[in-house]
């Protein structure tokens, strides 16, 4: 069986632009992703999924499927050996649906067979009789419809009590006097569609029974230990009998925080006593993970004639879909960063996430801040227009910085160079307008453009976005690292951080080489057996947390070796400064801080719109981002360019479409992501201002570009067309026929 092997690097200390340790096996095709794994005697698993968004299961008949060629097992909810439900934060999601399905594509049964095609045919032969129930699909009406979860799984966890049905979390942040009047008021209602992470490597993994009742699961995931802590109870096993190993990850972006095939594969493997491989296809992948929450956001901004914000009132409604996932934290993040990085003494922010029968939503890069950044920055553009002030000047005038107070009452203690990123992004020179006529490939719509560009209008947009780094609201956020330091000075590092493509492995190796003063360092394949939890590769936290843990473990190992001589093996746990929850009634901080740290990015965009055809082209993007300290500048630029592309996708093309809760575009033919023709050059300036609380001054860099870029791209389209453009993705109809 193949899996990721320990890797050895030759070069690179902190601050060096180095090639990835895994780049060579990735360019040669040797790197083993979770869908590439094989084992002797392996069976293939397939998941039977609900064709309805909301239905009662009347009858489940597996007898025909069981009799089919090559079939070794067909399992239903009755076969779940332990706890019947699981969840990242609240166990509200059935391992396999019991009496009721709540979303289109919900797992109902499992099949294991010798060949994948046999498993697929047997899955089609599992007979499920459904009684369809009217689905809850309108998030505005959800709180008036019958509850999807009668036991209210997210209530009584210290959140604001809300008696309405289908509320996942309701949060109010009240600061100062929200009724304070300004000279001028602008308002708007903004909509954000459902975005998919669309990682290229499908959900997949291999479960191998150990012959003693336990199981090893090799899977592409973002948090090994929390996978284990969800899988083991459902299997009825103690945690040590379930070992989760990181297989090669083909992108994540939040979509691998929740479980996909882990429990299912393990159930089939334990039942058949054979290794079982499950690989989703692209259509199934759209059902296999949670998405970015669609949102409706109502805003009212009041300001003085001079442009100073006086009061901001924002109401946010998020559709969490059928199960909670990380919706409670998304609802909070949306609220905490709703206004953007601006000073305002008075604010009222209300954020509500509801259960519906739409696709389940959870973590995606930017995590709540993307949706509100789009709305808040549209408001800033509107305000600038109304006041006749330059949009960049208006943002500078209100820029939030160190020592300022957030609407939650938290004083920003670390570094937040909002004004600096605005100035630096605004100073990037914009390319000259290109003459017409020109090659169609350089027109909006590319080769699909049939005109000579008569209808092309150009616009320049600007936006600023910020969000938190690391976990918040009192979560005990830590990362463990273990260092085996040998007498000859060579070292093996253990850290269960998930390398999802972001480059955390290189961060770990660069830190270890720097601290140990040697290039002779390897990182062992990450797993749950050899080291404590690393926490999740999410919330832009992994670089900060892994750097802290590996630094501390390396320093402890050196000290220990100095004392005892010979080989030493030490494990250390790193925690960032403690956070505390928000007050459930007022949304104000109950301690010093609810969030550890923040990162901010500003972006300038040039775009063209062919208003005759409704086609768009982003010409150029320039951005300045607060990165703390760039451990590997090449990787940081890569994060900025890639994160920008995902925000551009949400602005212009990416949306999961549903009809009565059913996804209608579950393919890359119908769900479009940016191609090489859609992406303009991205010029990025890294603002390095060390974060005092962070190891080496680092900040996470993955999310800010995604937070800001949707807003910045639409700002440019707004400038080109003069239209309000209150919905993303912007559709051709929204910009055609001026």
């Amino acid at each position: 069986m193949s899996t990721t092997q320990p890797t050895k690097l030759q070069l690179g200390r902190i601050g060096d632009a180095v090639a990835r340790h895994d780049a060579t096996p990735k360019v040669t095709g040797e790197f083993a992703y979770s869908s590439d794994l094989n084992a002797a005697g392996m069976l293939w698993g397939v998941t039977v999924r609900s064709p309805h968004a909301h239905a009662r299961i009347v009858e489940l008949d597996i007898s025909q499927a069981m009799r089919m060629a090559g079939v070794h097992a067909v399992l239903t909810h009755a076969d779940v050996p332990g706890q019947k439900t699981y969840g990242l934060e609240f166990a509200d999601q059935p391992v396999l649906a019991a009496e009721r399905v709540r979303y289109y594509g919900e797992p109902v049964a499992l099949v294991a067979a010798e060949e994948p095609e046999q498993a697929r045919r047997a899955a089609a032969a599992v007979r499920v009789e459904y009684e369809v129930i009217e689905p809850v699909v309108d998030m505005e009406r959800a709180t008036e419809q019958p509850p999807l979860h009668t036991d209210r799984p997210t209530m009584a966890h210290g959140y604001r009590e809300d008696e309405r049905p289908n509320v996942v979390r309701h949060l109010v942040i009240r600061h100062g006097d929200p009724d304070a009047e300004g000279d001028i008021t602008v308002s708007g209602v903004y909509d954000v569609g459902i975005q998919d992470q669309a990682f290229l490597g499908p959900e997949s993994g291999l479960a191998v029974p150990d012959g003693e009742g336990g199981v090893d699961v090799y899977v592409a995931t973002q948090w090994l230990h929390v996978d284990r802590d969800q899988v083991a109870p459902c299997l009825g096993l103690p945690p040590e009998m379930v070992r989760i190993h990181l297989a090669g990850v083909g992108g994540a972006f939040g979509g691998r925080e929740d479980l996909s095939m882990q429990i299912h594969g393990a159930m089939l493997a334990l039942q058949t006593t054979r290794p079982v491989k499950i690989v989703y296809n692209r259509e199934e992948s759209f059902f296999g993970h949670v998405h970015r929450h669609p949102a409706r956001i109502w805003c009212e901004h009041r300001a003085t004639r001079a442009g100073e914000l006086v009061s901001v009132r924002i109401r946010i409604l998020l559709d969490g879909g059928a199960y909670a996932s990380s919706s409670t934290a998304v609802a909070s993040n949306a609220a905490c960063f709703a206004i953007g990085p601006y000073k305002v003494a008075n604010a009222l922010i209300e954020s509500t996430c509801v259960y519906t029968n739409n696709p389940p939503c959870g973590a995606m890069r930017g995590f709540g801040a993307v949706q509100t950044c789009f709305a808040a920055e549209a408001q800033m553009d509107k305000l600038a227009d109304e006041l006749g002030i330059d949009p960049v000047e208006l943002r500078l005038l209100n820029a939030l910085g160190s020592g300022d107070t957030l609407p939650t009452g938290q004083v920003i203690e670390g570094v937040l160079p909002t004004a600096e990123v605005i100035r630096r992004a605004a100073a990037l020179p914009v390319p000259d307008a290109e003459p017409l006529p020109r090659d169609a490939i350089r027109l909006p719509g590319g080769a699909g453009n049939t005109t000579r560009g008569e209808g092309v209008k150009r616009g320049v947009g600007f936006a600023v976005g910020f969000k938190n780094i690391c976990y918040s609201e009192g979560f005990d956020d830590f990362t463990a690292a273990r260092v085996l330091l040998r007498a000859d000075g060579s070292a093996e590092i253990h850290c269960a951080s998930a390398e999802v493509g972001q480059g955390v492995t290189d961060v770990i190796l660069q830190v270890a080489r720097t601290e140990l003063g040697t290039d002779d360092v390897v990182l062992a394949a990450p797993g749950t057996a050899a080291v404590g939890s690393a926490g999740s590769a999410s919330a832009s936290r992994m670089t900060w947390m892994a750097a802290g843990a590996v630094r501390d473990a390396c320093r402890a190992a050196l000290e220990e070796q100095k004392r005892s001589g010979g080989e030493v093996d030490v494990e250390r746990i790193y925690r960032h400064p403690r956070t505390t929850p928000l007050d459930p009634e007022t949304g104000q901080v109950t301690g010093e801080r609810a969030h550890v740290s923040f990162a901010v990015a500003a972006m300038r965009v040039v775009a063209e719109v062919d208003v005759d055809l409704g086609l768009t082209r982003v010409v150029w993007i320039g951005t300045a981002q607060d990165v703390g300290k760039a451990i590997n500048p090449l990787a940081v630029e890569g994060q900025i360019e890639g994160g920008t592309a995902q925000g551009l996708g949400l602005a212009l093309m990416e949306e999961i479409r549903t009809r009565d809760g059913l996804i209608t575009n579950a393919s890359f033919t119908d769900y479009l992501i940016p191609t090489a023709l859609d992406m303009p050059p991205v010029e990025s300036e890294l603002i390095e201002d060390a974060e005092p609380d962070a190891p080496y001054g680092v900040k996470g860099v993955g999310e800010p570009p995604t937070v800001v870029s949707s807003a910045a791209v639409v700002s440019a389209l707004r400038d080109a067309t003069g239209r309000e453009l209150a919905r993303i993705p912007v559709r051709p109809d929204d910009v055609v026929g001026l």
Binding site: R20, A23, K26, V27, T28, G638, T669, A676
Partner: protein, 152 residues
């Protein structure tokens, strides 16, 4: 059914069923998992291979259609002297993140540079527009293509 084909210069035989794609045959039967299974409907280019020298999506070719033909996969680009210049350029330029699209892009770029040794930026963008990448935003991939072209 049995098919005979030449893969990466080596005569191979595979037992496939009539509906099986070349991609599945390469990955599961011929033990060449370098070509990737990201969409399996010809939209993402992750399974790009050369069929008698032409760039194709292996997921859209039946294994049976490859009977009697020559296939080059990403595994076949590396020679005894080391990495193909396109592979080397992808490593150096930082064009790889999660890497799932990389095999397809490497094969597509190698095919492009065979036909057009010094492509303009617009040609690079158009030629690689059939290969989706979700991580990089393509900037460093373009850098890699230019770097590889400069080393012809």
């Amino acid at each position: 059914m049995k098919i005979r084909l030449v893969v990466n210069g080596e005569a191979r035989e595979a037992d496939v069923w009539a509906g099986e794609s070349l991609l599945t045959a390469l990955r599961d039967t011929l033990e060449l998992p370098g070509s990737k299974n990201a969409c399996e409907q010809g939209e993402c280019g992750s399974c790009s291979v050369l069929l008698d020298g032409d760039l194709v999506c292996a997921c859209l070719v039946l294994a049976a259609q490859a009977d009697g033909h020559e296939v080059t996969t990403v595994e076949g680009l590396r020679s005894e002297d080391g990495l193909h210049r396109v592979q080397q350029a992808f490593v150096e330029a930082g064009a790889v993140q999660c890497g799932f699209c990389t095999p397809g892009l490497v094969v597509a770029t190698a095919a492009l540079l065979e036909r057009v040794p010094s492509p303009s930026d617009d040609v690079i963008r158009e030629e690689l527009s059939g290969n989706l990448c979700r991580c990089t935003g393509y900037a460093k991939i373009f850098d890699a293509v230019r770097l590889a072209a400069s080393r012809a």
